[in-house]
Every structure is written in structure tokens, then in C-alpha cells.
Amino acid sequence: MRRGLATGMLAGLVLGLLVIGTPAGAYHTHFQYGCNDTFYNHDPVSRADARDYAYIAAAEGYQWAGGCWNGNNVDDSPGDPVQDPNTLGEGGDCSGFTFKSWWERAETGDPWFRYHAWMQNVHGPYSAADFKAGAGASNVTVAKASTTYMDAFAASSHIGMIYWANTAYNQDRIIEAKCEACGTGTWPRTYRGNPDYSGVRRLYWAG
């Protein structure tokens, strides 16, 4: 009896792991199942407030067309297939991360501020190319030479915000959702002097 029970349990365990585990492993963590739609309209905030907010996402994941992260300093969905929103991984992409970090509103004609919960799964209406063109009532293009922290450098397929300008080697530390393998983080970059990139500013900061 006991041997039969043990043999049956082992077979069941193996089959259970194979049948359920294989597709679950292939389709990753479904991180976004735990996300929410929490946001608050808010009075204008300062650049420093916005940088504090963005900092929470550093060391979290990158997800193309994604928008939520949990602030635990870990990419909870590493190695997802790229350019596929159905992988439902953690993190924003570059433009979605900028949208949330700039406390923007989804209504493109409304330039005022909105707090997006870290775990709110929202991308916003703008692509990197839209930001580069200064699209939306809250955004304008500026000369790269006149940018300051929490302004951004945008190319046609990528955007990153200035976290700390002018390092000793005269780079800028940029906070950005970089790529699936990179995740989201702060890295020294040379976007400022690269002609592919333009300066972009969110308007109406409180300071």
C-alpha cells in the first residue's frame, strides 16, 4: 500500500511539474497580474519630487509597452521576449517611464500633474518620437545646452531623463528604462552631444 502510494505520488508530482510548470516557465511571471490602476490628480510638483519618484524604478525591470514596478530593487521578470507586451513583465519602457516620472496626464491637452502609483499599469499616450517632437500640452523641446535635471534627451526610439548632469568625464547620469536586458536604472550617457538626441522639457514644475 505504502509503496503504491509513494510511486503514485512521485508520478503525480513529476506530471504536475511538467504539465503546469513548463508553460508557466515559458511564459514568465505575469508580473502585471499584480498591478493596479491607482492614480491621483495632483498640484504641480518639483523636479526633485519627480526624481525621487523615478529613482524608485531604478534596478527594476523593463517591459515594452509596460508600466508598473514594485520598488524592490529586482527585475522580477528578467529575460522576457522583447517587443512583446503580452509577456506582462515588470517595468515601463522608455517613454512610459518618462510619462509616469513626469507626473503627466493621459489627456494630451491637459498639462497638469497626476501621481501614478508605482504599481499602476499605465504607459501614457507618448512614444519617444512624440516626446522628441515636444508633443502634448505639457512638453516642449529645448536646446540640449540649456537642459537641467529631469529634463530629457529623446531620439526617435529612446528617451532618458537627466538624473545628474555633468559628471567628471562630462557625461550625464541618465535615469531610463533602457532595454529588456538592461532594465531600468541610472547610467552615465553621452546623449547630450549625440545629434540623434534632442532636448525635451516637461513644463510647469513647481520648482
Binding site: T7, C35, D52, Y55, W64, G71, K178, E180, R192, G193
Partner: protein, 449 residues
Amino acid sequence: MRKKWRWPLAGFVLGGLVGATVLTVNVVGASSPERADVRAGGFGEILHTPVLLARAGQPVELSYDVVCGALKDEPTSHCAPSGSVYVRPAGGSTFSRMPLEREADGLLSAVVPATDARAGFDYYVAIDNRRGRTAILPEAGAAAPQHVWLLQDWATVDVGAARFGRSRTPSSVVRGFAWGRGDAAIGLDSGREQSRIGPSAFDVAPDGSVVVLDQVNHRLVVLRRGAEAEHLPIDFSGGEGDLAVGGDGTIYVLDSSARPVLRAFTAAGAPIAAGRLAESTADMVRMGPSGPLVHSYPSEMWLPTGAARPPVAPGRQLASAQSARTVRGGLGVVVHASPSEVKLALVRGDRVEHAWMLRGETRFGEVQLAEPYGNGMVVVVRLWNEKHAEFRVLRLAPAGLVQSFDLTPAEWAESGSLSRFRLHGSTLYQLRSDPSGISIAEFEIGGTT
């Protein structure tokens, strides 16, 4: 028959349920938002660009900003940090405390009075974010502070204006690769709403072979003259990194993932060791006389990671951090650049051997390369305006400029931010990219190395 199968069947069902439960708990746990909020509860980060080089006889302002760690996921105003800078004359043993003052622009600053002391001074900062957390930068504090060299003499070099579009053509091209995954290709990671990332870095080995970090394809590509490219698979977890080859052929790969790691490989690609870096961000690995040095943030100091196995532990990296990059002959290279001025120095301990001040009519970008050359330096610096950019190559002697020429940036794909150039002997190498692929180009510098 029925009785015979009853217990095995019960076991089978039970086992299946156990397996499914284990998987469900693991998957949900991995994606749960309820996991520990490490960053959210932390200090945040002190932001500071080290002064490094200052004119003797003038006061030196030390400026800081603070990123405040959030307490919870709700709108929170910026914290109100306060703190002090601790300063001592170089060679001294006692630090003096100077309270930080809040400036109109929100920065915290302290001014170190003018001194003509030739040896400069050391400093570190301690800041309280007024949310119950304090932090020190550099992290080792008095054990490994920042250093400022005071410049008594320097050569001023007027680099003039940029000459966009008038670039030198390469002396030769080591090799070119099309984008792709095969043996004749090099990896490109690109797509909508992300960076366009090519190979991060390369270096030239003592035997003249070129090693390329093809991190997109998780491999090194070794290029020897007259031979087929050799591919060495490696572990690499981040998106970008850097690479340096030691005098014994050991290949050091900086993996700039969320937690940077330095990995060492034999010349044949066999893994030797891997060690975590003490700081959260790093952009360069370069060879020092005693092993690899990694330039990391937020301190912007050079951390020794050790040539031996096991690598130097993070605590010892911080305690041994240096403001200058140590190079051959007991010299150190120090760089401090801004849009209007580039300061460069070769130092020996606290003493400045030679210093240069670059000025120009066009805005300076990043310093891509600064290496000792003869009794001077070779420097590669970006010049740019809103629509154009070029790299200016400068050969500096103690008295000033000896030679200069311009190079096209050729940066269609992104590399490591300061990994586009390497100097080997009298040859400057450039990693170039365009929509068709990459090439490693050579430029002869001339003069005496």
C-alpha cells in the same frame, strides 16, 4: 484490480496537487508587489561631481544634491536633507567639519577657503535625509576620501572651433562585421521604445589582437591578424558593459547590470572569477599596474577589484578607492571636464606632474580617452552643437598641444559610454557603427609613446 490501483491513484492525485501548489506559490511570490521594498525604505542617493582639479589660491565649492528614498507608494514631498563636509589637508590626519548650506537652487554646498598648499586636500560628506537615514560619500569616508589636486601651473590649450565633417580617414580597418547573430556578424539589440545597442566595448591585447565585447550575443570576439574571428561564449546578464585586457591576456568584462559585476576570463574565454562591485553603477574598467580598476558611481572613484581569485570584496574596494586612475610608473590620470573647459593632469601621489586646461569655441562633450603618451597625454574629447558632433584627438606635451585631428563619431549604435576608443602603442583604435554594421578603425598618432 480496483483495490490494487487505489493507493497509487491517490498518490498520483496528491503528487499532482503538491506540484501545482509549489509552482503557483513560486510564480505568484515572484511577481507579488508585496515583496520587501529595499530601495523604497533606503536613504536614496547623494549626488556629487568630484572637484578633482582646482586652481591653487582660489576657494573651492563642494556641491551636493540628494535623491530621497520614498517611504511608501503615495505622493511625498522631497526630503529636507542636511549634513556636513569633512575636510583635511592632504597628508593630514584630522578632518575639520564644515556644515553644508542650502543654496537657492536647492543644492547643499560648502566652500573650502583658498589655500596655496601644493598637496591639495581630502574630503567626504555625511548627509542626514531627515527621514531617519544617513549616508556618507564616498562610502568609506575618512578611510578613502575624495582628493583635490591644486594646480599651480598648467598648459592652456586652445582647441579652436569644431570642424564638423572634416574628419581624418582611418589608417586601416582591423575588421568589419554586419549586424546579426552568426559567426560573421555582431549583435544588435534594437526596437521601438528602447536604445539601439551594439557591441559595448573592445580592447587591444598585448599581442595586438582585438577583443570585442559582443554582449548582445553573449560572447567575446577575438580578432587576430590574418586569422578568422574567434568566438568565446561568456556569461553576461546586463545590457551593456566594458572590457579591458590585462598584460597576461586575462580579459576583464564589466557587466553593467542592475548590480554591476566584474568577470575575468582567460585569453581562451574560460571563466576565472566574478565579483560584485561595491557601488551601484559603473561605466569603465581599465587596467592598472596591480589589476583592473573600475570607475563607479556615485563616488566617481576608481575601485580596485584585484587580479587574483577571489576578487577583492566590496568593502575592500571602497576602502582602497582612488580619485585618480593609477597607470604605469606610479602616475595617475585625473580628468575633470565641463562644457566650457577640460582639465587634465598627470599626478604622482598628491603632487601634480603636468596639467593641461583645454578651451575652445565649441562646447565640450565627454572625454572619451585620456592616456599617458610619452611625457604627455593623448586625449579624445567630443565637440558638439545641437545638430553636429565630432571627436577631437589631441596629443599633448607638457608645454602644450603637439598634434590634433578630428574623427567622425560613427555612433549609429550605442556602445559603452566611454568605450569607443583605445590606445595601443602609437595607434588609436575606434569602434565605429553605421546601419550596416561595425568596424574597428586604426589611426596612427605618431611621436614617441
